[in-house]
């Protein structure tokens, strides 16, 4: 792109600074060169886009996406995931290493980067496997993989059970100031479970995962982060007590941040309802008390990242008795509408609600995007913050349609998405 592009007459929202005002942005060579109320219709630009008063915010950054590439391309490829991301206003996402083969080597990191460069409309960063083959026994080449460009290190959905292994891996990662993400789970307690443990699961006759499975692992991770000095991302916490533990550790000086899956802010365990397999996810939908505590955390800025936890599963793996169905929900296209709906319903200022999908994750990874600032990449999303609509899974761009949001009503819809100043999605 040559020349200047102006997007004017927008409600400009920048979570990094808390800005929420009428204005515009001026883009040159894919970079924001000017922004604010001064960018108007009269701007000297080659291309002018009238935002018609709709909201313009930094494109979303999603720290937890699974595709099926490599190994299970029938579920999703980097290309289809990036198409879904663009449609959802997500301009950067991190792919988890739980692929086949596992992203646990410099070569696999390089493969993801090259593939993404060729086929993805949005920015894709691989996360490196913390242990080789995610076996939870031997650490991967953390230093070399980090140099190759891995965003952080994680064992994905296979928690490292051996505390000695995790301690050494954290300790080693801290030598390179690498970020280690760990989804707290104790398989001994959560194995073969379907949903949150409790009265409702009991009534349905389903095996439930007790919240202790999360608490025990989280407390262990926090202690090890404290003694090793590693930067820890408590990945996809889902309960009130987990959030309190993270906040307490942070106050004590532990370098810990946390993420929450968008569905944990939207659903509670009752939504599993009539054995809905699309609501079978890890961590499971928890109690309403937990959900409200997470929303309160969102309000006070205690949650560093909200993630889609995008996990595509084909119909044949979901249309099964719930105990046999696969875990996972797609989420790239519903991440922003979900947050916007919560912001409206819970009366959270947009700049606050969007922080954990923009500057929050950008700061965790040290990325220049995720903010409206001079010199920042022009990764932007234009959305109608109040437009009511109902999600229909058949309309999803993602190759897999396993969304728990199917049939749910949202307030807020993506209109257009830009990456480096180029339009990558425009609602027809």
């Amino acid at each position: 792109m040559t020349g200047l592009t102006a997007i004017y007459n927008a409600r400009l929202i920048d979570p990094a600074t808390g800005r929420d005002e009428v204005g515009g942005v001026l883009i040159e060579n894919g970079v924001i060169v000017e922004f604010g109320p001064s960018v108007m219709k009269t701007a000297a630009a080659d291309v002018k886009i009238d935002a018609k008063g709709k909201a313009l915010a930094p494109g979303l950054i999603d720290l937890r996406v699974k595709t099926g590439e490599p190994g299970a391309e029938n579920k999703e490829t980097l290309q289809t995931a990036s198409d879904a991301a663009a449609a959802g206003g997500v301009t950067t996402f991190v792919v988890m290493p739980d692929t086949d083969p596992v992203i646990d080597s410099v070569a696999l990191v390089d493969f993801i980067q090259r593939r993404a460069e060729g086929v993805a409309k949005v920015k894709v960063y691989p996360a490196g496997g913390l242990t080789l083959g995610l076996d939870g026994a031997k650490m991967s080449e953390i230093g070399l993989i980090r140099e190759a460009g891995a965003a952080f290190f994680t064992n994905g959905d296979r928690p490292v059970e051996d505390a000695g292994v995790l301690r050494r891996a954290m300790s080693y990662a801290s030598s390179f100031d690498a970020l280690v993400a760990s989804r707290p789970d104790t398989p001994a307690l959560s194995k073969n479970t379907v949903m949150n443990a409790g009265a409702f699961a009991a009534r349905l006759g389903l095996r439930g995962a007790p919240p202790e499975a999360e608490w025990i692992a989280l407390e262990r991770d926090l202690m090890l982060a404290e003694t090793t000095g590693v930067r820890l991302l408590a990945d996809c916490i889902s309960t009130a007590r987990s959030l309190a533990a993270v906040e307490r550790a942070r106050k004590a000086g532990v370098k810990v941040s946390c993420s929450v899956a968008s569905y944990s802010l939207f659903f509670n365990e009752l939504d599993v309802g009539d054995y809905l397999t699309y609501c079978k996810v890890q961590p499971p939908f928890r109690s309403e008390t937990d959900r409200m505590a997470l929303i309160a955390g969102l309000k006070r800025g205690a949650i560093d990242a909200v993630v889609s936890a995008h996990d595509p599963q084909p119909t044949e793996d979901k249309r099964l008795p719930i105990a046999d169905a696969a875990f996972g929900a797609v989420g790239l296209e519903t991440l922003l509408p979900c947050l916007l709906s919560i912001a409206i319903r819970e009366d959270i200022p947009l700049a606050q609600a969007l922080k954990p999908v923009t500057s929050g994750p950008a700061d965790l990874l040290g990325l220049p995007q995720g903010r409206i600032a001079k010199g920042a990449p022009a990764d932007l999303v234009l959305f109608d913050p109040a437009a009511p609509w109902a999600c229909d899974r058949d309309d999803l761009v993602s190759r897999s349609k396993n969304s728990p949001f199917d049939g749910r009503k949202f307030e807020g819809r993506v209109l257009r998405t830009w990456v480096n100043g180029q339009t990558v999605y425009e609602r027809g």
């Binding site: 242990t131 650490m139 230093g143 070399l144 080693y172 030598s175 390179f176």
Partner: protein, 317 residues
């Protein structure tokens, strides 16, 4: 200093020695370097005395070095073949010590795989005990020979900046060297990934680094440590190649140290893992073979000094 009396009965570690103790040994070591470079390398200082080498861990160079040191001083040197001895038949460590003690040796050189084992034996025998390496605790003669090497080749140790790099956690060489170099007034730096940095290393009187290039800045001497093969299997380190990439001494990393910084290694080396061959064999900057030479001299100094301090028979007990 000539009239300073080294008063210790054993040499169990650098810990407990003072600067004069160390300098006394180094000065005597200097004398023996000259002797060892003569055609006839024989002294009769220890004539009639018995030195027993007791190596519970395999060793080629240290055991050989003590044997040569003892013989050059005229002592009767016996190396006990542990592999075929009664230790393998279930005899306890203490019983072995009592048995040996009854043979009335004058000097007992011991290496053992367990930290503290040499000290335990020293309490049970009447002769002088020299620690030739106990577990991951101390290896005092290595630190002394390193100090002698630096003093002779690089210069006054006080104020010198010296980096020790690699597997600090499992290294008795590092522990003895940090203590020795600190006593002699050097600025010591430890460079290692955190998995190989002992907890509390920052309190050893050394600066701790994880970035080798930063750690080497301004260093006059770079001491590399041996990385045991079993550390590279994914528990402490992901792989040998990753270790070499970040912590192996190559020309690029060495260029961050002082120009002409000297290179040391206690041996045996893993070429291509902790050190590049070209660096290890550097004609003017590598002191690695010289360390071996100094080893014999410094051990002669230690043997002589301790033998002198031994009480007359009959006085003991």
């Amino acid at each position: 200093m000539a009239d300073y009396a080294f008063s210790h009965r054993h040499l169990l570690g650098i810990e407990g020695l003072n600067r004069l103790d160390i300098e006394t040994l180094l000065e005597l070591g200097d004398k023996y370097v000259e002797l060892n470079r003569r055609r006839v390398k024989h002294a009769d200082t220890l004539a009639g005395r018995t030195l027993v080498n007791l190596f519970f861990e395999n060793s080629t160079r240290t055991q050989g070095s003590f044997e040569i040191a003892g013989r050059r001083l005229g002592a009767d040197v016996i190396t006990m073949p542990i592999a075929t001895s009664s230790v393998k038949k279930g005899e306890t460590l203490i019983d072995t010590a009592m048995t040996l003690n009854a043979m009335r040796p004058d000097l007992l050189v011991i290496r053992h795989g367990s930290s503290g084992a040499v000290k335990l034996l020293s309490r049970k025998v009447d002769c002088a005990v020299i620690n030739a390496g106990d577990g991951t605790h101390e290896h005092p003669t290595q630190a002394l020979l390193d100090a002698l090497t630096i003093r002779r080749r690089v210069g006054e140790i006080s104020g010198m900046r010296i980096a020790i790099c690699g597997d600090i956690l499992h290294s008795r060489v590092a522990r003895s060297n940090v203590a020795c170099l600190n006593i002699l007034g050097a600025q010591v730096r430890l460079i290692a990934p955190r998995t190989l940095t002992p907890p509390g290393a920052a309190d050893w009187g050394a600066e701790v680094f994880t970035d080798m290039r930063k750690g080497l800045a301004g260093c006059d001497v770079v001491m590399m440590l041996r990385l045991q093969q079993e550390r590279m299997d994914g528990a402490y380190l992901p792989s040998a190649r990753e270790f070499f990439h970040f912590y192996g001494l190559d020309a690029d990393k060495l260029s961050h140290a002082n120009p002409n910084a000297f290179i040391m290694h206690p041996g045996p080396m893993n070429r291509g893992v902790e050190i590049e061959s070209g660096i290890a064999d550097h004609k003017t900057r590598s002191l690695i073979t010289e360390q071996v030479e100094m080893g014999v001299a410094v051990r002669m100094a230690v043997l002589e000094t301790l033998a002198k301090n031994a009480p007359e028979p009959g006085v003991a007990k």
